[in-house]
C-alpha cells in the first residue's frame, strides 16, 4: 500500500495544479467502527459549481465518507485535515455542518410524514413567533413557498407530507437542503425512487444549483446518470481512495474497472465439473418462470439444477433480496410460476416453503436469523423441534446429541452448546443459522449475503460448507455483493439490475468487470 499512497499524492497534485482552490478538501480520512476500518486514507476535493460523482461498489465507503463530510460521523483521530472554505473544520454534529452550509439528502427520505411541507422544510430552524409567543404560521409557509418556487415546484407548503408521492417528497428534501443556503449538497442515490420524467426535472434543478455555485456530491449506481450530469468523479474501493478525474476523460468501462479491481486471493473455489454434465439433462430443482412481485422484481426466469450453486449479483436495491423473499413466500407473487422438481407450486408463507424443502438464510443475521435470547443448541434445533418429542415432551438427551452432531459437522466454535448464541463470533453465528436449515433436509437453499460481517477464516469455512451442501445435491441460490465470493463459489452467475435479470454468465466467462457492467445497467458494451 505504501507505493499506492505515493501514487495517490502525485495524482492529486496533478489535479490541483489545473484548478483554483477547492471549497472543501478532505485529506487522508480514516474511520473505524468497532475495530473494522471502513475508510483508509481517503481524499476528496470539491469545487464550487461542480457535480462530483462518488463511485464505488456496495460497502466501498461512500456513505461513510459522506456522513463524515456532513458531521454525522467523526473521523478517527489519526486522520488528516478537513479544510472548508480555507479553514480547518471538525464537525461535532450534523447541525454544525448544516449551519455552515453542508447539507445531505439521504437515500431514505427523512421527513416527518404528519407535518406539513412547510414545517418539514424549515425544521431545525427557529420558527418565528407572533405577538402571543406562538408559532407564526404565515411566516413558515411564506418562506417554504419561496424555496419551493426557487426550484420550480408548485407544491402547497400547507399540505401534509404523507399525502405526497415519493418524488414529491424528494423535492421537499431538496427544498429543505436549499433553505439553509447550502454551499455543498450531498445527494445519496436521489434518483433511486424517481421516474424518468422526475429524474429529468431533478437534473434541471441540479443544473440550476451548479449555476448558483453549489458543489454537489452525487452518489448513484446508474452509470448513464453519472455521465450525463457530473463533471468529475472519485472512485472508492474497500474503503480506499482509488482515483479521481474528469468524467469527460473516462468511460463507463474504465470506471467499472476502478470500482471492482479486487484480487481473487485466498478464496475457496468450487470444482464444478460434475454438475455441469448433469445439469443439461435433468429437470431443474428450482425453476422460475417470469416471476414479478408487487414492487421490484420484474419478469425473472431462471433454472437451478441439483448440485448447482448459482450466484446472484447486483447492486443494493436491484431486487435480489426481494426475489428470494418471493420464492420463500415472504412477499406476494404477482405474476409467474415457481416450479419445484417439475411441479408448479404455490408458496404463500415460509411455513409452506419449508414444507416444500426450501431453506432461507436471511440477509440480516441479527434481526432475521437468530433468536438472541436462546442457546446455540436451541437456535440450531428450532426448525426440527417437533421431531424430538415423545408424548408431547421434548427429549433433552436426543436434542443434545443432535445439536452436538450439527455443531461438529459445521465446525461451530462455541464454549458449549448451552452458550447464548450472541456470545459467538459472526462466522459461528452464521454457521448456526445454516445448521438450523440442514435439519430440515432442504432441496433448495436460498442464501442472502451468507458471509456478511464474517471474518476471512470463517468465510472460507462457510464457502466450504455451501459447496459441500451442493455436492450432496442441493440447489443453491446465493446473493452476494462481494464479487470475488460470487466468482469463487458459483457455477453460474446471474446479474440483476432494477428488478430484472440482465445476465446469465457461466463461471468461465464471468469477470468482475462483466458483472459490474451488467449490474450498473450498462449493457451495450
Amino acid at each position: 500500500m505504501g507505493g499506492n499512497i505515493e501514487f495517490q499524492k502525485k495524482k492529486r497534485k496533478d489535479y490541483q495544479s489545473k484548478t483554483i482552490s477547492p471549497i472543501l478538501t478532505m485529506d487522508s480520512i480514516n474511520k473505524s467502527f468497532t475495530n473494522v476500518q471502513v475508510l483508509k486514507n481517503v481524499n476528496i476535493e470539491l469545487f464550487k459549481g461542480e457535480v462530483h460523482a462518488l463511485m464505488g461498489e456496495n460497502g466501498a465507503g461512500k456513505s461513510t465518507l459522506m456522513k463524515i463530510m456532513a458531521g454525522i460521523h467523526q473521523p478517527d483521530a489519526d486522520s488528516g485535515k478537513t479544510i472548508y472554505k480555507g479553514a480547518e473544520v471538525n464537525w461535532n454534529n450534523p447541525m454544525e455542518a448544516r449551519n455552515k452550509g453542508i447539507s445531505v439528502i439521504h437515500q431514505e427520505i427523512s421527513l416527518s410524514p404528519n407535518l406539513s411541507i412547510g414545517e418539514n422544510i424549515l425544521m431545525g430552524t427557529k420558527f418565528k413567533k407572533n405577538k402571543f409567543g406562538l408559532v407564526k404560521w404565515n411566516d413558515i409557509f411564506e418562506k417554504a413557498d419561496h424555496v419551493l418556487k426557487s426550484i420550480g415546484s408548485t407544491l402547497n407548503p400547507k399540505v401534509n407530507v404523507s399525502t405526497l408521492s415519493v418524488a414529491q417528497q424528494q423535492m421537499v428534501e431538496i427544498a429543505r437542503a436549499l433553505s439553509l443556503n447550502s454551499e455543498i449538497l450531498i445527494m445519496d442515490e436521489p434518483s433511486a425512487s424517481l421516474t424518468d420524467k422526475e429524474i429529468l426535472k431533478l437534473f434541471g434543478i441540479i443544473d440550476e444549483l451548479k449555476q448558483k455555485g453549489v458543489a454537489i456530491v452525487y452518489i448513484s449506481h446508474r452509470m448513464d446518470e453519472i455521465f450525463q450530469i457530473s463533471n468529475r468523479f472519485t472512485v472508492l474501493r474497500d474503503g480506499e481512495w482509488i482515483t479521481t478525474g474528469h468524467i469527460s476523460e473516462t468511460s463507463p468501462a474504465n470506471l467499472v474497472k476502478h470500482m471492482v479491481g479486487r484480487e481473487l486471493v485466498d478464496l475457496f473455489t468450487k470444482k464444478s465439473e460434475v454438475t455441469k454434465i448433469r445439469s443439461k439433462e435433468e429437470i431443474p430443482v428450482l425453476e422460475l418462470k417470469g416471476i414479478s412481485d408487487k414492487n421490484t422484481v420484474r419478469n425473472v426466469s431462471l433454472k437451478i439444477h441439483e448440485g448447482e450453486i448459482v450466484g446472484l449479483a447486483g447492486l443494493v436495491g436491484a431486487g435480489r433480496t426481494e426475489l428470494i423473499r418471493t420464492i420463500f413466500g415472504l412477499s406476494e407473487l404477482k405474476e409467474g410460476q415457481i416450479i419445484l422438481n417439475g411441479e408448479k407450486v404455490n408458496i404463500n408463507s415460509p411455513v409452506e416453503a419449508i414444507k416444500l424443502g426450501i431453506a432461507h438464510v436471511p440477509e440480516s443475521r441479527k434481526e432475521q436469523g437468530l433468536m438472541a435470547n436462546l442457546s446455540v443448541k436451541e437456535n440450531i434445533l428450532m426448525n426440527r423441534l417437533p421431531t424430538y418429542r415423545k408424548f408431547k415432551l421434548l427429549q433433552k438427551k436426543l436434542m443434545d446429541k443432535e445439536a452436538d452432531r450439527y455443531i461438529n459437522e459445521l465446525g461451530v466454535r462455541a464454549a458449549s452448546k448451552e452458550q447464548n448464541i450472541m456470545g459467538l463470533s459472526g462466522g459461528n453465528q452464521q454457521k448456526v443459522v445454516i445448521a438450523k436449515w440442514l435439519s430440515i433436509n432442504p432441496k433448495v437453499l436460498l442464501l442472502d449475503e451468507p458471509t456478511r460481517g464474517v471474518d476471512v477464516g470463517a468465510k472460507t469455512e462457510i464457502h466450504k460448507i455451501i459447496c459441500n451442501l451442493a455436492e450432496r445435491g442441493l440447489a443453491v441460490l446465493m446473493i452476494s455483493s462481494e464479487l470475488p465470493e460470487v466468482l469463487a463459489v458459483s457455477d453460474r452467475i446471474l446479474v440483476m439490475h432494477e428488478g430484472e435479470l440482465k445476465a446469465d454468465l457461466s463461471k468461465e466467462e464471468a469477470t468482475q468487470e462483466k458483472i459490474m457492467y451488467h449490474a450498473t445497467g450498462e449493457i451495450n458494451q
Partner: protein, 324 residues
C-alpha cells in the same frame, strides 16, 4: 459479555464471577428469603403455621393469574383483561351451578369462558396485529361489562356446598387453592421448558421475524399464549368464586396489575423472550410476604401501597443494573 459469563460452565471462574452468576440465577429468591428473615424477626407471629397458610392461600389467586401473564409477557405482549375474565368466569360458573348444572361442569364452563376470552385477545393481537395493550384494554372493559350484564350488577350467592371445596376447602390441612396453584406451576414449568409450544413462546418473544422465517406459526403461538392466560384467569375466577361463596362481577379489579408486578419482580423481561416461571412464583411470594408482614407490623394500609410501588421500581432497576 454477561451472557458469556452465565453460560461458559466449564471454564475456570473467580469467586466473584461465581457469586455474580449465583445472584443472577437466584437474585430474587435471595431477596425473598431476606424478606422472610426480616419479617420473622420483627413480626413473631409471621412464622405461625396459620399465617403461613394464610399467605399461601391469599397469594394463590394472583399466582394463577401471574402464571398466564408470564406466558403472555414472554411473547412480548401484555394481558390487561385477566382481572375482568376472573370476574366473568366466576359469575358464569356460579350461575350455572345454581341453575342445577353439576359442579365440575359448571366449573369447566367458567374456565372455558376464560379460554374463549383469551383466544379472542390472541386473535386480534396476532392476526390483524393490533397492539396487545389496546386489545386487552378493550377486553378488560367489555368482559367486565358482560359480567355486570348477566348479573345485573349484584353478587350471585353460591348454593352448592361442593363448589366451595376448590376455593375454601382444605386437604391434609392445606387450603385447596394452594394445591391448584402448585399444579398450575408444575404444568406451566413443564410446558415452557419441555414442550414445542413453550420453546416457540421463547423464540417468538425473542425474535418474531426470525421465528417466522424459521417456519414457526407465529400467529398460532400468540393465540395460544393469550388463550392460556385467559384459561388460567378463568380458573382463578372459579377458585375466587368458591372462596367468596359467590360470583361477584366487581371482583378482581386491578388484579392484573398485581399479576404483572409479580412477573416483573420475577425477572421476566418486558420485551419478551427472557424469563422463567419459577421467577414469577417468587415474585408472587415477595408481594405476599411484604403485604402480610407489613400488616402484621401495623403499617398503615396506605403506606403499604407506597412501599409496594417503590419495591416494584427498585426491583426492575436492580434487574437492569445486574444485566449491564
Amino acid at each position: 459479555m454477561n451472557t458469556k459469563l452465565q453460560n461458559s460452565t466449564h471454564t475456570e471462574m473467580s469467586w466473584k464471577k461465581r457469586s455474580k452468576i449465583i445472584f443472577d440465577r437466584l437474585g430474587m429468591l435471595i431477596v425473598l428469603l431476606l424478606l422472610i428473615g426480616i419479617m420473622s424477626i420483627f413480626a413473631p407471629s409471621f412464622t405461625d403455621p396459620g399465617n403461613i397458610m394464610n399467605i399461601l392461600k391469599q397469594s394463590s389467586i394472583t399466582a394463577i393469574l401471574a402464571a398466564g401473564m408470564t406466558v403472555v409477557i414472554l411473547t412480548g405482549g401484555i394481558d390487561l383483561s385477566v382481572g375482568s375474565i376472573l370476574a366473568l368466569s366466576g359469575v358464569v360458573s356460579v350461575m350455572l351451578s345454581n341453575a342445577g348444572v353439576p359442579v365440575p361442569v359448571a366449573m369447566a364452563a367458567g374456565v372455558a369462558v376464560g379460554y374463549a376470552a383469551g383466544a379472542i385477545n390472541g386473535y386480534f393481537t396476532a392476526v390483524p396485529k393490533l397492539p396487545a395493550f389496546i386489545v386487552t384494554l378493550g377486553s378488560m372493559t367489555y368482559v367486565r361489562g358482560l359480567a355486570y350484564v348477566i348479573t345485573g350488577g349484584y353478587p350471585v350467592v353460591l348454593i352448592s356446598e361442593n363448589f366451595k371445596f376448590i376455593g375454601a376447602g382444605y386437604f391434609l390441612g392445606v387450603p385447596t387453592p394452594v394445591y391448584v396453584m402448585t399444579i398450575v406451576y408444575i404444568i406451566m414449568f413443564i410446558v415452557l421448558k419441555y414442550t414445542l409450544f413453550g420453546r416457540h413462546i421463547y423464540a417468538v418473544g425473542g425474535n418474531e421475524e426470525a421465528s417466522r422465517l424459521t417456519g414457526i406459526k407465529v400467529e398460532r403461538t400468540l393465540i395460544h399464549a393469550y388463550s392460556i392466560s385467559g384459561l388460567l384467569a378463568g380458573l382463578a375466577g372459579v377458585v375466587m368464586a368458591s372462596r367468596l361463596y359467590s360470583g361477584q362481577p366487581m371482583v378482581g379489579v386491578a388484579s392484573e396489575l398485581d399479576a404483572i408486578a409479580a412477573v416483573i419482580l420475577g425477572g421476566t423481561s418486558f420485551v419478551g423472550g427472557r424469563g422463567r416461571i419459577q421467577g414469577t412464583i417468587i415474585g408472587v411470594f415477595i408481594i405476599a410476604v411484604l403485604t402480610n408482614g407489613m400488616t402484621l407490623l401495623n403499617v398503615d394500609y396506605y403506606w403499604q401501597q407506597v412501599v409496594m410501588g417503590v419495591v416494584i421500581i427498585l426491583a426492575v432497576l436492580l434487574d437492569r443494573i445486574r444485566r449491564t
